[in-house]
Symmetry: C2
Subunit: 361 residues, 2 copies
């Protein structure tokens, strides 16, 4: 799939100088760009966010700013999206910044951190507590400017062959859980594995893994884990939300007429709103079906939540001690998280709890 | 303030025929419209949603589609906004559909119903369970087309001079609570009053009312209720979310170039996302300040929640028995609400609960 060498920018505009002058902006040029998604079409709601974004940009520009969306693997591998944009192979990508924590742990703030912000808290941080500017100052070193563009909501805690009740139950437990969640799992004694989606079911079936997480009811149902491992846990503390971004090559961004930049900004906000609404609509129905299929829902025990929280916090403190970029964001983020926790503890949480007991399907 | 007779449409386009032809759409005409807000500037976050919306439309159209925003009372009273748009006095308004439950109870579905949907559930219903089309089929009889454009999140349960623990404590309780929440309060024996914002503090101070609700920590703090009534209750079961709409005169809407319609749709979605993010950022800090000022936070007792839920349900059943439009939406909405309740009972709620106990400010 390594076609990036032969695939160059689809920008129709000549040159790369900024086109800020009103006369040119008003000319509304026809532009063709390419967006590489980090997601396969099988994750239709997340991948679909990229399509939704491109469609909104097209509609906002009377069809003149065309963005063609490529699924993961079509132009480049899923996790090469940021590199592809930085190098200018494509103009933009739809991706999760936490895929790049190997470059810098700070990337986690853009998507999800274990025991991090929930969807609305993440939005409040991004849009009204300086998050977007903070992250773009950081992303600048990677040659991109980025805007939030989608969220799954809080993910589920995954599927376990056998119930887990204590921290001891995680010792040696082989679980498919990549990224930072996997790093915390390793700290509490589990053996995290980073299998791609298509490899999980067979691994679970033959006993190569004892447990797996994926996304939430809708996406999990499609992969069929419930047929093998009936114990479905919550909450997915490693992903209290999962926010995606559209990332744009900064030099290419600066060639866009101002009106087209605004279309991108609007379309990103729309995608950010729409994806979680779609997930909330789909997950509610998938949950009804999974319960009917005999899935056993379990809340992680206090011991597991406390132990995992402690391990995650130790991971952050260790990172802050050696990573100035991470530390600079982490300190304020911790305070923000605690303040939001106390706000959400009130009205929203009390409503959810009452409804949980009262409104049965 | 009744200047509507002398104020006519600001539409610069001649005529009212649909301008769907690409040649005309591409001409990107300069248009000036007026939006009347149902909100005073003192409710800066909600009123500001109208300004944010107009700014986004302007930016998306290279400054050519200008919408001037008027605060409640400037052109017409707050609750005349829908009439003003229907009559064509202004092209659009930013309002809460539940202000018009006097016209039809069905209006409540657009904003909030007691024990109704929370913010994300309302978004899921609107964007991915047919809500927007359902409501626009209903709104059509009022000559408007409407899109969600803002939300406060779950509101608080209000300020009480003395604690309330049982249903008996509501007998004869004089509370400022307008709308459907007030109707439920009347059913449980309270005496609801519909005072405008500026009249509440003096009424509370002189003992004319025993309790009041308003919005949430940020807006409530500004009105100073905490100086008189220290008991701050949650959840505001009468407003588990409060969604606002931009409503547009249908005939005027049909004169807009398609691209400008798309700009309106985008700007509405953006406003819907941004307002609650702003509230979540502001409420978190206001809550810290209110706690420091000695405010006592109380969760409504199970007895009060159960009794109020029963009264609200009786109100809906009575309405459904006599209002076919309401009934047609209510039946599916009830199922949707129960399914969403069970979905939010899991991961989101478990995260909120853990954070509530663990992350202290």
């Amino acid at each position: 799939m390594k076609r990036r060498d032969v695939l160059k920018s689809g920008l129709v505009l000549a040159g790369t100088t900024a086109l800020a002058a009103p006369a040119i902006a008003q000319s509304a040029p026809t532009i063709r760009w390419r967006l590489t998604s980090s997601f396969p079409k099988s994750l239709e709601t997340i991948y679909g966010g990229g399509e939704f974004f491109a469609d909104r940009v097209s509609k906002l520009t009377d069809g003149k700013f065309n963005i063609r969306v490529f699924a993961a693997g079509d132009l480049m591998p899923a996790f090469s999206a940021l590199d592809g944009v930085q190098q200018g192979t494509v103009e933009m990508c739809h991706t999760a910044s936490y895929y790049y924590v190997g470059k810098d742990f700070t990337m986690g703030f853009g998507t999800a951190l274990p025991f991090g912000l929930t969807t609305r808290q993440q939005n409040a941080w991004m849009y009204h507590a300086g998050g977007i500017d903070t992250m773009n100052a950081f992303f600048k070193d990677y040659g991109v400017i980025a805007y939030p563009a989608g969220n799954t909501g809080a993910q589920m805690g995954g599927w376990f062959r056998n119930p887990v009740n204590t921290m001891a139950d995680f010792k040696g437990l082989k679980m498919r859980i990549p990224g930072l969640g996997g790093q915390v799992m390793a700290r509490i004694g589990a053996v995290p594995q980073a299998l791609p989606g298509g490899d999980i079911y067979p691994a679970l079936e033959r006993g190569a893994i004892d447990a797996t997480e994926w996304v939430g009811p809708y996406d999990d149902e499609k992969l069929g884990f419930y047929k093998i491992a009936k114990n479905y846990y919550y909450p997915g503390w490693w992903e209290p939300c999962s926010m995606y971004h559209v990332m744009i090559n900064i030099q290419k961004w600066e060639t866009l007429p101002k009106q087209y930049q605004e279309a991108v900004i609007s379309a990103c906000r729309e995608t950010n709103l729409d994806m979680v609404a779609e997930y909330d609509a789909k997950n509610r129905l998938a949950l009804v079906r999974l319960k009917a299929a005999g899935v056993q829902l379990h809340k992680f025990s206090d011991e597991i939540m406390e132990g995992s929280y402690k391990a995650a916090t130790e991971m952050y403190e260790a990172e802050a001690a050696k990573n100035a970029k991470f530390k600079a964001i982490y300190e304020g983020w911790k305070t923000f998280r605690a303040e939001e926790a106390q706000w959400f503890a009130l009205s929203e949480s009390a409503i959810d709890q009452f409804y949980s007991a009262k409104l049965k399907t």
